[in-house]
Symmetry: C2
Subunit: 135 residues, 2 copies
């Protein structure tokens, strides 16, 4: 099976199955056009492993919002060069097909419940939304 | 073809072909364990569309570093809620299999050439490296 056929297989089988999250950057346009939503959480008690674990638990629930195409939940890596920001506690990175889908996520009951149940844990969030430059 | 077979097909065909960038979040572990490297560029001349275009051109070249699994090049979206940071000019988001692969990227000739050719354009970069919390 050559590259193009394989890519089409991946794409078509994903569509056929209604599967989210299959993205092949060989089809650059698809991935490049996604809407990136990256949130950095600053906990009220940044030294509390309990609070961090609770937030991570909440984000696992939040990841069920159906318009999310891909999600990555993280914590600061061990890299320490001077340009690296390490003052946040938890990173929440997700991709949407477009801004409309992100707005659906903002208003989705799962998201509202997440804020209701877990917002007491954080002092602030910094959010970076970005899109491909050629839109 | 059931879900598991399809996922294995995607994974194995990607490995067999040496293709980067095929990631299926149905195999949550795979995606969750990736190393996230997110850079926000602050241009010296943030109002210069020419400088921004040059940087974007440089990032397209940088995206050829072979250890990059996925890459998204972006600019601030139109969202404007109070928590949203919009003061950067360009977002460079990429994924690596692990820290070692990111370190290879840092030292790769394509990366060094990118810095040599384009660093004069930016005033600063803020870099957020994050990894899955259970490593």
């Amino acid at each position: 099976m050559n590259g193009i056929s394989r890519r089409n297989f991946v794409k078509n089988s994903a569509l056929a199955a209604g599967t989210i999250g299959v993205v092949n950057i060989a089809e650059a346009k698809t991935f490049k056009e996604l809407f990136v939503h990256h949130v950095y959480f600053y906990l009220k008690n940044p030294d509390s492993e309990t609070d961090k674990a609770k937030l991570l638990e909440g984000l696992e629930k939040l990841s069920k919002v159906p318009t999310i195409r891909m999600v990555h939940i993280g914590v600061p890596a061990t890299t320490t060069r001077s340009v690296i920001v390490r003052d946040y506690s938890v990173s929440w990175l997700c991709f949407f097909d477009n801004l409309d889908e992100e707005e659906i996520y903002q208003k989705h009951p799962i998201h509202l419940k997440f804020v209701e149940d877990y917002a007491h844990l954080w002092e602030k969030v910094n959010v970076y939304d970005s899109i491909g430059p050629k839109r």
